[in-house]
């Protein structure tokens, strides 16, 4: 039986018809009790479990997934990783994440195709240039790479863009060279495999239906579709559905669920070098290793738990695609889908204890959850294991809405569909 992945093991298996590969992770059946139970078998939940076992030495950890692992937003995003944030509450966290991405595959022994081909955020006016300069400088002050490019410099990297767009010409771009993409499903599977190998029970088709609390109000067990499971601590990592799960403990969160659509074109030979975003609107695009152009734009703008969107945004996104690179008109849209975003009231995530003893929240990732996956796992594991926030995630307090210590990158206020 082969456990370690390598070219050598692959070649050896090729000779024997690949009969020796084992399941990448154990499909566990629930035990009576675990020290820590993580609800949600997405990237964040599995990363949390992985780091709990690997870094924090936790021996009794389970991940409960209502369907199949990676079936939520982990498998529905546009796979972008970056740390080009503006505010001091965010930059160190996302930079921690990017650093973890950079060593992830070797750590997991699973090729998640982390590809640092860079991101360019285009700007189309002097005001936007100033805003990007402010952001780039904030990044540089935090030791994060950022370059301000003029239109000519952008043209050298992406000559196919419509620089002289009749409506919103391109003035330049802010580039983060270390940003890029990763293969989203592989991230899930890699963390699952790593966690499982370190003794974490990954329990699929196990939906949490209730939280059992003792006289003091502490959560002590979970009722699930696979029976009651005792828990020392419970961590929620169910972004998109945080409000629904929190409601099981009578909690109300500063979160609205919104649908965000994503799109992929038919496979094409390489055209786009990295990630490019259009600044006169909201549009981002990259190209997968398989050749599909992967792109998206704004939220649909209404609350939703249905994982699908509607035509007005499809049109908006395609219009902006044409404005950015008018050659795309002849590429065909192959597939579109929707993911449910935990939109918080300031656009930043929440990672904190909740008012319910024993219950911890990791959610509110808005549409930025994928890039956060490793750091989210690391920091949530820190919180669960040590009962104190990790320094780089210390701003993501649940009480910041009461105190006013908001992390509002865009300044759009408590209106999620404007963030």
């Amino acid at each position: 039986m082969t456990k370690r992945y390598s070219l050598l093991s692959l070649a050896r298996q090729a000779i024997s018809g690949h009969r020796g590969w084992m399941p990448a992770w154990r499909d566990a059946t629930p035990r009576d009790r675990y020290d820590i139970v993580v609800i949600g078998g997405g990237g964040h939940g599995l990363a949390t479990a992985y780091y709990l076992a690997k870094v924090f030495g936790e021996k009794s950890v389970a991940v409960l997934e209502k369907g199949w692992i990676g079936g939520g937003n982990a498998g529905r995003n546009t796979t972008i990783i970056r740390s080009n944030y503006l505010l001091p509450g965010n930059i160190p966290f996302y930079e921690h994440s990017l650093k973890l991405w950079e060593g992830l595959e070797q750590d997991l022994n699973y090729n998640a195709m982390v590809s640092q081909r860079g991101i360019i955020n285009l700007f189309h006016s002097d005001e936007q240039r100033d805003a990007h300069e402010r952001r780039g400088n904030a990044m540089r002050l935090h030791g994060v790479d950022a370059e301000l490019l003029d239109a000519d410099a952008v043209r050298k990297m992406a000559p196919f863009l419509d620089f002289d767009n009749a409506r919103f010409p391109i003035f330049g771009g802010l580039r983060q060279k270390r940003a890029g993409t990763a293969r989203h499903d592989a991230v899930v599977w890699g963390f699952a495999r790593g966690a499982s190998a370190r003794g974490v029970d990954i329990i699929q088709n196990c939906e949490v239906t209730g939280m059992v609390r003792d006289a003091s109000g502490r959560v002590v067990a979970l009722d699930t579709t696979r029976g009651r499971i005792g828990a020392g601590k419970v961590g929620m990592a169910v972004a998109g559905n945080s409000s629904r799960v929190a409601a099981l403990a009578d909690l109300r969160l500063p979160i609205e669920s919104h649908v965000l659509q994503a799109f992929v074109s038919e496979g094409l030979k390489p055209v786009i070098p990295g990630v490019i975003t259009f600044g006169a609107g909201h549009f981002y695009i990259s190209q997968s290793d398989k050749g599909g152009l992967v792109f998206g734009g704004d939220l649909d703008g209404y609350k939703s738990y249905a994982q699908r969107g509607n035509l007005p945004i499809v049109e908006d996104v395609c219009e902006e695609a044409m404005a950015l690179m008018p050659m795309i008109g002849r590429a065909r849209l192959l597939r579109s889908w929707g993911g449910i975003m935990d939109m918080t009231m300031d656009g930043s995530p929440i990672m904190d204890r909740t008012p319910v003893p024993g219950l911890y929240l990791n959610g509110g990732w808005c549409y930025g959850g994928f890039k956060a996956t490793p750091a989210s796992g690391w920091c949530f594991a820190h919180l669960l294991s040590r009962d104190e926030p990790h320094p780089v995630a210390a701003s993501y307090r649940l009480d910041r809405f009461a105190t006013g210590r908001l992390i509002d990158e865009k300044g759009s206020g408590p209106q999620p569909n404007l963030q």
């Binding site: 692959l10 005001e127 400088n137 496979g267 390489p270 050749g291 509607n310 065909r332």
Partner: protein, 973 residues
């Protein structure tokens, strides 16, 4: 040529020339590219995605996985076009993709040698060392090898149109069931839209030899179309593919408008995107034939039986001369008969089902067995294994495969409805489609024509309450399950385009990728451009077999829009180039253009940025000249883009008191006041002026950026929060042209314009407002100043804006009247420390802007409570300051950060940032506004202003944000 000399629905009188990989060929009007290639004897059309195996045409529709070609050249190049979906047009150039130098001889076929290693998910297990090699070596190789066709790097030269349509009944598919449904609805007087992706209505009636009401199927279809044309509430859209079902009974479709025309009229769009809202939608979308998994099932010459039937009957094009049929359903026998009738020698019918088939005429010897191998670069022989395990080789150049049917039900999944497995039909069906959606005919498992017609007629009747006409109860046939021939493995394909084999599915399951979604994502099964139409169900059946479960327990993937791929240009429609977003022009735009203005985007508006005059070396010269004119004489500037909202009614004052953080109810009629609105979360939302033009009537101004949001906010306050208030609000932004007249000579200029109004300081002091008339129309005059000079804003009806501007210019010629643009406006307001876009960023409080003392403590207003939260009232907050470089030659840039002098340049010392910059003619140097932590306590401090992304840093001195006339004497003068 393999074209029959007669028969079929092609017009031999209209030959069409085209080329394939540069080779000239000929087809006929009525051909598709696929049928014409077959008629020209082309067997290999391309190479597969991963192993670069030679591939031929497999199907006759949108499920085609192999025949993906690039059409046209240069900017018109259209990659990944499915040959069966392309109508042949004179001069068409088609090219194979993903192979070099040719599809017959492709060097990348070397990949096939590595197929033992290139199994499902192999890339997740390797390419990890050394880490830096991924971006530099492995990934570029993978990316170059992957992908299908090549996108042109030039703008799409075609245009696209968009239309909206509404119907009682939308019918999708113009086969027997669709035509029946459309006719039935039309006869009931319903508004009907019938869409069909084919150039010719009829669906399978064009491909199968069948009779309806004593007429050949194709003839019956033509007659049905003719009758539909008689109904004036019926629209038939051919060449129109429905691509998605959306909420509210909305559907998206794309019509091919001119692609099939050899010489389209100029201005004709290539495609038209239809948005259709339909009360009821009837999906007569047919069924897709299922392949059978057997070793070598991808060899050119192996073709779906239904496709063989299409090419032979509809196009009179023979895909082979010696054929065998591998079938596990009765429809395969009809194909054998059609082949025989067309003069093709049918060597054998291979049917794995045991027992005789009553009622089925076999035109050839039936072998009860399975195909277990195929041979030849293009098919030359097949190996057949009979029930006893004996194998024999048959010499054939065509193998028609009939593996059963999958009803085309994907549109229901677009609305979240999962398909259900039907045991009798051995297929996924939609038993409970979403409201307003109905599947009929083969899409509902009614495969035979008569059953399909009865089904369509009955369902339309039931829909409109005509129960009496409901057709006889349908008896479901017993059909064979998806077939994976035992013993087949790594050369038996379930997803042809992505080279997913039986072995890959087995391996994925073995490694724990055991749900259909994991299987899809690990092997890429169903992710190709046919969207899983061909192989997905087969793959899921195989997964079920591996797990020892029924297919129902394993389930299938929900289809997602678009049903068939759609060009992105079509979805963007006309909103391209300058039409991406509407362009809003100010009332004086033409005048400004005539004065040499350069324009800049301000939201959707175009505003004059500066006016170039002889002697201006650059834009800074122009802006400085204009700003100086305002400070020394008089300038005029169109400020119509600022939002203007009228608020009227007995409670108007009370409403404004609740909307603004400062007091408004106390404002006297004929007066203006500056006001700040907060969001309910306590941060600054917008600022502007409030003018009380009568006791119960106000006109307020908003920033250009927030005009829409403020109107929405006021409507919310009035309609939702305080519906009891007796007040109304209305946006009048577009109704008034407003011009700022600013500078020491502004009064003189306006007095000339309005000789009947006393504009003296005592009669019309600072912050006065009045209504009057100019040029026979209403006029409003406000004595307000953004520049810090004696200044006014005059508003006239929009249509008079141009005349007003011309008159001011004329009257002011000897007063130094100078038009000024946004850049000069920026200089003037920065010199005065007025907050604008860079400062009003949604992250600041009134206190941050130095306006803390304005905030009322005496009334409730939106934002008051949360503005008092600890973090918003904290003394460490960054507040508005002025900044000027110590060295006057330095130029600071917006977005620079501010740190104390003498500390490391790092985040821990970051104390703020520069929000706005301008060259100040008054100060003779660049100046800036910024937000600086505890800025009010740091006036006079020298700070380090850095822009690491520009590699600049400079020392600047912190000051009050007001650089000019801090006492405000000029504007009161």
């Amino acid at each position: 040529m393999t074209r029959k000399s007669q028969g079929g629905l092609v017009d031999r009188a209209l030959p069409i020339s085209f080329t394939f990989n540069g080779r000239p060929m000929q087809g006929y009007s009525g051909d598709t590219l696929a049928s014409a290639l077959i008629a020209n004897g082309v067997k290999i059309v391309g190479r597969s995605f991963k192993y670069h195996r030679p591939r031929g045409i497999l199907t006759d529709g949108a499920d085609e996985p192999n025949a993906l070609l690039t059409l046209h050249r240069g900017a018109r190049a259209l990659p990944n076009s499915k040959a069966p979906m392309v109508e042949l047009v004179e001069g068409l150039e088609a090219f194979s993709q993903n192979c070099w130098p040719s599809p017959r001889f492709d060097l990348m076929a070397i990949n096939g040698l590595f197929s033992p290693i290139f199994v499902a998910g192999f890339y997740y297990k390797t390419f990890m060392w050394p880490a830096a090699f991924w971006e530099r070596v492995y990934e570029p190789l993978i990316r170059r090898a992957a992908g299908l066709g090549k996108l042109s790097d030039r703008p799409d030269p075609d245009t696209y149109d968009r239309s909206h349509a509404f119907a009682d009944v939308l019918v999708v598919g113009a086969g027997a069931a669709g035509l029946t449904a459309a006719l039935a609805a039309a006869r009931l007087g319903k508004r009907v839209i019938l869409v069909d992706q084919d150039s010719r209505p009829g669906g399978r009636l064009l491909a199968e030899r069948c009779e309806i009401d004593g007429r050949a199927g194709a003839e019956w279809a033509s007659a049905a179309i003719a009758e539909l044309a008689e109904h004036d509430k019926v629209t038939v859209l051919t060449r129109t593919a429905l691509f998605g079902a959306y909420d509210g009974r909305s559907y998206g479709a794309v019509e091919q408008v001119s692609e099939h025309l050899p010489d389209p009229a100029s201005g004709m769009p290539r495609q038209r995107y239809w948005k259709i809202v339909a009360e009821q939608a009837i999906f007569a979308t047919g069924a897709t034939e299922r392949p059978i998994a057997f070793t070598g099932n991808d060899r050119p010459g192996v073709m779906m039986a239904s496709a063989v039937q299409t090419y032979v009957n509809r196009f009179a094009a023979l895909p082979g001369r010696r054929a065998a049929v591998f079938t596990q359903c009765d429809s395969g026998y009809a194909v054998a008969a059609d082949l025989a009738a067309a003069g093709v020698e049918v060597v054998a019918i291979i049917d794995p089902r045991s027992g005789d088939k009553p009622g089925v005429d076999a035109t050839a010897a039936v072998i009860h067995g399975e195909v277990v191998g195929t041979h030849g670069k293009c098919l030359k022989t097949i190996t057949v294994r009979n029930m006893d395990g004996k194998t024999e080789k048959l010499k054939v150049d065509l193998l028609a495969v009939a593996g059963g049917w999958n009803p085309n039900i994907g549109f229901a999944s677009h609305l979240g409805q999962r398909p259900a497995w039907s045991e009798p039909l051995q297929a996924f069906v939609q038993d409970t489609p979403p409201d307003g959606m109905h599947f009929v005919g083969a899409a509902a498992g009614r495969y035979c024509v008569s059953a399909a017609i009865d089904d369509a007629r009955g369902k339309v009747a039931a829909l409109f309450g005509r129960e009496g006409e409901v057709a006889a109860i349908f008896e479901e046939p017993s059909l064979a399950p998806p077939l994976v021939v035992s013993g087949c493995d790594k050369k038996a394909f379930v997803d042809f385009q992505h080279d997913v084999t039986v072995s890959d599915v087995v391996l994925a399951e073995q490694e724990g990728y055991a749900s259909v979604e994991h299987l899809k994502r690990y092997t890429t099964l169903g992710m190709a451009t046919d969207q899983g139409k061909i192989g997905q169900v087969l793959g899921h059946a195989l997964l079920a077999r591996q797990q020892g479960k029924g297919i129902a327990a394993v389930g299938t993937i929900a289809a997602r829009p678009p049903h068939t791929p759609v060009c992105i240009g079509a979805l963007a429609g006309i909103h391209r180039g300058e039409h991406l977003k509407p362009t809003r022009l100010t009332p004086t735009h033409d005048w400004a253009a005539s004065q040499g203005a350069s324009f800049v985007n301000a939201g959707l508006w175009k505003r004059a940025q500066w006016y170039t005059r002889p002697g201006d070396a650059d834009w800074i010269d122009s802006a400085v000249r204009e700003a100086k004119a305002v400070r020394s004489a008089v300038g005029i500037c169109d400020v119509s883009t600022l939002g203007k909202i009228e608020v009227a009614g007995p409670d108007a004052a009370l409403l404004l008191d609740r909307l603004y953080c400062n007091a408004m109810a106390s404002l006297a009629a004929g007066k203006v006041r500056y006001g700040v609105m907060l969001r309910e979360d306590g941060f600054v939302f917008d600022d502007g002026t409030v003018a009380r033009i009568a006791d119960d009537r106000f006109v307020i101004s908003t920033t250009t950026a927030n005009a829409v949001a403020v109107m929405r906010h006021i409507d919310y306050a009035l309609q939702v929060i305080w519906p009891d208030l007796d007040a109304k609000a209305c946006s009048v932004t577009e109704n008034w042209a407003q011009v700022a007249v600013a500078g020491p000579n502004s009064r003189a200029l306006l007095q000339r314009l309005l000789p009947d109004i006393d504009l003296s300081n005592s009669a019309f002091p600072f912050m006065g407002a009045l209504e009057g008339r100019w040029s026979g129309a209403p006029m409003r005059l406000f004595r307000i100043s953004f520049s810090g000079e004696l200044a006014y804003e005059i508003a006239v009806p929009t249509g008079l804006g141009d005349a007003l501007m011309r008159m001011l210019t004329e009257l002011g010629s000897d007063l130094g009247c100078t038009p000024y643009g946004l850049e000069a406006l920026g200089i003037l307001r920065i010199e005065k420390g007025h907050a604008a876009g860079g400062e009003l960023n949604g992250q600041v409080t009134a206190g941050d802007l130095g306006l803390g003392r304005m905030v009322s403590k005496k009334k409730d207003f939106i934002g008051r409570a949360l503005a008092e939260r600890p973090a918003l009232a904290h003394s460490d907050r960054q507040v508005l300051v002025g900044l000027a470089p110590v060295d006057p030659s330095h130029r600071v840039t917006g977005g620079s950060h501010i740190l104390p002098v003498g500390v490391p340049v790092s985040a821990v010392h970051d104390a703020g940032h520069v929000t706005s910059v301008a060259f100040s003619p008054t100060k003779g140097r660049w100046i800036a506004l910024g937000l600086l932590a505890r800025g009010a306590d740091r006036i006079g401090e020298v700070v380090n202003v850095v822009s690491p992304v520009r590699e600049t840093s400079m020392e600047m001195i912190v000051s009050s944000p007001v650089f000019v006339d801090p006492e405000g004497e000029r504007l009161r003068g």
